[in-house]
Amino acid sequence: MKDVVLKIKNLSKSFDGRKILDAVSLDVYDGENFVVFGRSGTGKSVLLKSVVRLLEPDDGEIFINGENVLTADKKKLTEIRRNIGFLFQSSALYDSMSVRENLSFPLRKIFGITDEKILEQKVRNTLRHVGLESAIDKMPSELSGGMQKRVGLARSIITEPKLMLYDEPTTGLDPITSKEISKLILDLQKKLKMTSVVVTHDLICAEIISDRVIFLKDAKIYAEGTLEELKTKDDDFLRNFFSNKILSEQGE
């Protein structure tokens, strides 16, 4: 049995009285690609942001490698976060910095690396991983959506995190770029031996990446298993979802 890297117990979160997550529990194992599936607005991103405490849950517990995230003080939380990579839906590149500065920023600030040669080498190596070494001197505004995602990914992995969290990594991209990014995520996960949690509603992305999937619906885990198991499950809602048909009121 592999080690549990991320453990979530009875996580609940409400906004303005509306329950977004209701006692959600899950385990993510070492080296696994875990996909959180669900329609828009079902609390997938809330779940992911709660893991790194960008949002404070109302109730529940979160453990990363056995460390309790929700009770950690500021110093401990910073330590925990340094082992986590987070790719934001918007890529969240620092737009006042070039690609080079975006990537070297965490190395300078977190690891205190000041040797320009080491920084340059590390930045170039990481950009090579995502196939964008030529964009090193560009500003984020000069990059396409797909390129921004790649640079965002490069910035997240440059600190060699053990756990990678992806918030809708393929949203807003065309199907081909979306496929490329999904394959890149899978390649990187294999190369760098990371554990990944991917929040998405993109079926192609899930097909390429996932080892195991949960499906969130009505603030709870509606289904759990491999993607194949979920696709073939005898359930109207899931069948409708995976067949890309418009959901019927009954299915809702």
Binding site: R82, F88, Y94, K109
Partner: protein, 263 residues
């Protein structure tokens, strides 16, 4: 650091606005406390602070310089028109110098600085907030308050007094140009009749408050940017309210500081 949540919407009633007013004040208060809790702790972001100082200072030079020369010129012209009929033009350099050093240069520089710098900080941090750049920094283990807020507040606090000194010099020169054009007064006479009225205590009274003005601009701009919600509309609102709140705060601080300096 938990900031009070403001109420948003197109139809806020009076009690909502009242609530938002106090929530903003307490948010600014929390920012001030957090600033003093963190400012003396390493790591010190010296390079980033220097970069902001140059940005806030050098880019403000043309606008505050233009304002300075016009203010000095107008003050002298108005003063000349009042004093000349009574044969009191020898008091003009002193009164112009004193009003520039104690009040006009500090307050007007600060208000222009608020318009340029508080708006800039509010818009930049606001955009960073809505595009998740601040969250990205936070998640990566870099303390965004330290890197984004403390550097800007220190830069604004340190650079405004220097800009004020620059405006004082330029305004006095503008004042002299006006008297020279009206009266042909020599520069030596202008300076010699001004110096007995303008003491070092006046300069201290004028400059000391500019540290507080700069601090107010930095804190308010940073707070409004940091607490931005609601996409690009929210960024616009943060930018506007950064200028409005910091300008009001500058006037309020000035009122208190003038009272204190005259005690």
């Amino acid at each position: 650091m938990k900031l009070p949540k403001l109420k948003y919407g197109t139809k806020l009633n009076f009690s909502d606005k009242f609530f938002n007013f106090f929530a903003t004040l307490s948010g600014i208060g929390i920012f001030v406390i957090e600033f003093f809790k963190q400012v003396f702790r390493p790591p010190y972001e010296i390079e980033e602070t220097k970069r902001h100082m140059l940005d806030f200072g050098i880019k403000s030079l043309p606008i505050v310089g233009t304002m300075g020369i016009i203010i000095g010129f107008v003050l002298s012209l108005e003063g000349y028109a009042v004093l000349q009929p009574f044969g009191g033009t020898e008091f003009l350099p002193g009164s112009v110098g004193l009003s520039i050093v104690r009040e006009f240069a500090p307050i007007l520089t600060a208000l222009l600085f608020a318009g340029r710098v508080a708006a800039g900080i509010g818009a930049e941090l606001g955009s960073m907030r809505v595009t998740e750049q601040i969250d990205a920094m936070d998640v990566s283990g870099v303390e965004p308050f330290r890197y984004l807020v403390i550097t800007r507040v220190i830069a604004a606090t340190m650079i405004l007094p220097l800009l004020t000194v620059y405006v004082i010099v330029i305004s006095i020169f503008g004042g002299y140009v006006a008297v020279y054009l009206e009266d042909g007064m020599s520069f030596t006479y202008f300076v010699n009749t001004m110096l007995p009225y303008v003491h070092i205590t006046d300069l201290i009274a004028g400059l000391s408050k500019t540290f507080l003005f700069g601090f107010a601009v930095g804190i308010v701009g940073s707070y409004k940017g940091y607490a931005t919600e609601g996409g690009t509309v929210g960024v616009g609102k943060s930018t506007t309210s950064s200028v409005v709140i910091s300008s009001l705060l500058i006037l309020f601080i000035d009122m208190i500081m003038v009272k204190i300096s005259l005690l």
